[in-house]
């Protein structure tokens, strides 16, 4: 017990020092705290009101709905490293504690206890209190709350098990990368689910959900058992409540057991790192000519082989398509004007691509080459155009379906010209506000949220406005034939618009290249966190 307390104490002390020792993290916590409190309070109020309402109006639905919600909560919490890229439950690295004569189960338990004191876990307590009060009233409140708290413990324990399993999976890079790619896909799908369910096209999804609720399928989920125990406790059905609590206890023991087993295999090195595969049987080559060509090819290969970058690149298609989908739900449907507007907005999405800073460690290498800085920026921006190929293709298809072949060139021109001008604006953002590197020993590709600060947000808005303003005259040329009802005019205006945008792009990119040349050493220092 002493060792358990010592290890938990050590972890909490390290976390507190890490927050206190970094201005960025302190600011992050200070900013997150009110939001977390607000969210926690709002959730508590909503939980109380909804459960009271459901108890009065649809009492038979209370168990299935709470079971479904508890399952959703548990699954998203446990899979948060895959869905959101941030683990709701931390999986502490046990390597440094392994040399000490401490049983592995104690180490696993210490992580579980330390995780219970995390802010994100503590923020769940007010909603659970409100839920328990709504379910049990003042008299049976303690029993209902005990059941719900047991459920929260299970969620955190399963989160830890999943974290360890992912850690084990990461021993095999290929498997790990596939899991990350699928996880990001799952996250995107889950984030789109509400829109699909609420839209007209989501009637099938709604029917499916209702069927699942009617059949009470979620009762099978261990995450639901504590909610069911709390409902029964609230109704004074002691035996049923105890049975469900017992089931949760068993699930909890199983989860801790699996965690210990995985940790044991993981840290003894029994989990194989797997075969390392090679790329291509023939000789490697860069097919595109010159430094710009090599840079574009390098970008494409790196992005395609990195699951995070690939997923982010492919998910860029989702936003514009969802907007078009929502517009398509309206009575008027999608006309050329809507297509044009969405294409322009999609093109502006290049602001924030931040091509230079995403090089991270590689930027020192890239800037070490004696290549004209304009060529570097053009290569980076061209690669972005290619990487956004799926967006371009999807606009071509949507344009073809909803506007016919006549409007497709205009839609694509608008998309391209706003994109290249947004890229030109983004170059400045990338040079002035790089993303700092993670600390030594950390994953160099790990996302660092908020690291670019509020200044970068303001600059981002400024860059987007600048891109919009710079593209406006050329966008007008693309819109004009549509406004005049003279489609033949596109044969004149579209090449003119593209040529004009290209000229402005080169002027802006040349300025950015000069800025880069002046500031490249400062940029590298900032990326290393030295300034």
């Amino acid at each position: 017990m002493d060792r358990l307390i010592a290890i938990v104490g050590l972890r909490l002390k390290r976390e507190a020092r890490a927050i206190a020792g970094s201005r960025g993290r302190t600011r992050g916590v200070l900013l997150a705290l009110p939001a977390l409190l607000l969210f926690s309070g709002a959730s508590a109020l909503a939980a109380f009101a909804l459960v009271r309402l459901a108890s009065r109006t649809e009492p038979e639905l209370l168990l299935p709905v709470l079971s479904a919600l508890a399952t959703l909560f548990g699954v998203t919490w446990a899979l948060s490293p895959l869905i959101a890229g941030i683990a709701a439950t931390e999986t502490h690295d046990l390597t440094r504690l392994l040399p000490y004569p401490v049983p592995l189960a104690t180490l696993v338990l210490s992580t579980l206890v330390a995780n219970l004191l995390q802010l994100t876990v503590l923020a769940q307590v007010p909603p659970l209190l409100a839920l328990a009060l709504a379910l049990g009233g003042p008299q049976r409140f303690p029993f209902a709350f005990a059941a719900l708290a047991l459920g929260l413990l299970l969620v955190v324990a399963v989160g830890q098990t999943v974290g360890l399993l992912l850690h084990a999976l990461s021993r095999n890079r290929r498997l790990h990368e596939r899991a990350v790619f699928l996880g990001i896909g799952l996250g995107v799908a889950l984030s789109l689910l509400p829109i699909l369910v609420l839209s007209r096209g989501g009637s099938v999804a709604r029917r499916l959900l209702l069927t699942l609720l009617e059949r009470d399928v979620f009762a099978l989920s261990p995450f639901a058992w504590s909610a069911r125990a709390a409902v029964h406790a609230g109704r004074g059905e002691g035996l049923a409540a105890l049975a469900f609590c017992g089931a949760v206890g068993l699930a909890l023991a199983a989860s801790v057991g699996v965690s210990t087993l995985v940790a044991q295999r993981l840290y003894r090195g029994e989990l194989d790192v797997g075969e390392v595969s090679t790329y291509g049987s023939g000789r490697a080559r860069f097919r595109l000519p010159g430094a710009i060509g090599a840079l574009v090819e390098k970008e494409l290969r790196v992005v395609w082989r990195d699951p995070r970058l690939k997923a982010v690149s492919l998910s860029g298609i989702i936003g514009p398509l969802m907007v078009l989908f929502v517009l398509g739900q309206g009575a008027a449907g999608i006309g050329p004007s809507q297509l044009f507007a969405v294409a322009q907005v999609a093109g502006l999405g290049a602001v924030g691509a931040n091509a230079l800073a995403l090089e991270r460690h590689g930027l020192g290498l890239l800037l070490g080459f004696p290549v004209d800085r304009l060529a570097l920026l053009v290569g980076k921006n061209l690669a972005l155009v290619v990487l956004r190929g799926p967006v371009i293709v999807s606009f071509a298809v949507v344009g073809l379906v909803f506007g016919g072949p006549v409007v497709v060139p205009a839609v694509l021109t608008l998309l391209l010209l706003t994109q290249i001008l947004a890229s030109a604006a983004d170059n400045y953002l990338s040079i002035l506000f790089p993303i700092p590197l993670p600390a030594a020993g950390r994953d160099p590709n790990a996302p660092i949220s908020g690291a670019r600060g509020l200044g970068a947000v303001a600059m981002g808005i400024l860059a987007m406005t600048a891109a919009l303003a710079a593209s406006a005259p050329f966008a007008f040329l693309a819109w004009l034939p549509q406004l005049l009802g003279e489609p033949w005019l596109w044969t004149l205006t579209l090449p003119l618009a593209l040529a004009g945008a290209a000229a402005v792009y080169f002027m802006a990119a040349s300025g950015a290249a000069r800025l880069l040349q002046r500031r490249e050493q400062d940029l590298l220092a900032r990326l290393r966190g030295e300034e």
């Binding site: 090679t278 790329y279 860069f286 390098k298 290969r301 082989r305 590689g362 020192g364 004696p370 004209d372």
Partner: protein, 265 residues
């Protein structure tokens, strides 16, 4: 940055450093460092951890802006056209910045292309370097799957592919097995014999003693000695048989504790 008024023009010197200084926040990492390295010399730059070796290399290779001072590499001024300077140098940094999602061969071809080598020449050099550094069998693997030693060899190959006239090598032998280490040191010797200037840092002092014509020792950001081993021995009035390790410990005033631990019998 204070620009030096006169660019020291010296045909004999590949590296000329004058008053190079770097301050991080309020801490001076490199403090008015000045030295010259003759063309074709194997120059060892030594110092304890945190003495300012890597910071000096990063400044000399244009990757970090000096707070003051200037330098000339093969006549290219550090505060002038950095691209011209980078054409003349090859750099192996301690951090080994490599593109992890390229294969070793792709990486080398990319480096060759970025240095402006024609396709066929770049390919020829890349193949030779891969064979020479025993990486040919691993050419198709992604860099992310390379061991530390393989990464070091690949980074060295990238630094060599364009045939630089000055090579900056920060701990090039760290993490390399003895066989590859011997191959690398033989290669460096041959490069030096052909007139390439080598600026070399290492903690393995017997290797430095064997390879380097001349050394400079930096401690707490300042150069505390420079010259051949014999010259430094003479300056510090050390015996003619003193090894580089003994000279180094003397120069950095290392406190080598010899007290016993009370609980060890």
């Amino acid at each position: 940055m204070n620009a030096s008024p006169a660019a020291p023009s010296s045909d004999a010197h590949a590296i000329v450093v004058e008053g190079l200084t770097r301050v991080f926040r309020r801490q001076t990492a490199v403090d008015h460092v000045s030295f010259r390295v003759a063309r074709g010399r194997f120059f060892g730059f030594l110092g304890p951890n945190g003495a300012g070796k890597s910071t000096t290399i990063r400044m000399l290779t244009g990757l970090l802006r000096p707070s003051a001072g200037d330098a000339w590499i093969e006549g290219a001024r550090l505060s002038g056209d950095l691209i011209a300077l980078k054409r003349k140098i090859g750099v192996l940094t301690e951090e080994l910045a490599l593109y992890e999602r390229l294969t070793g061969e792709e990486h080398l071809l990319f480096a060759a292309r970025m240095h402006g080598l024609p396709e066929a020449e770049g390919r020829r050099r890349a193949q030779e370097l891969l064979e020479f550094l025993s990486l040919a069998d691993e050419r198709g693997k992604l860099v992310v799957d390379y061991s530390q030693g393989m990464r070091k060899k690949l980074a060295l190959a990238c630094a060599l592919v364009h045939g630089p006239s000055v090579l900056f090598l920060d701990e090039p032998l760290n993490g390399i097995d003895p066989v590859s280490g011997r191959v690398v040191t033989d290669l460096l010797r041959r490069l030096c014999a052909r007139g390439v200037t080598l600026f070399f840092t290492s903690h393995v002092l017997d290797v430095v003693e064997r390879l380097c014509d001349e050394v400079a020792v930096i401690d707490r950001g300042r150069i505390v000695a420079q010259g051949t081993l014999a010259e430094i021995r003479a300056q510090r009035e050390l015996s003619g048989s003193a090894t580089l390790e003994e000279v180094f410990l003397k120069l950095v005033a290392a406190d080598v504790r010899r007290e016993d631990l009370s609980w060890i019998g």
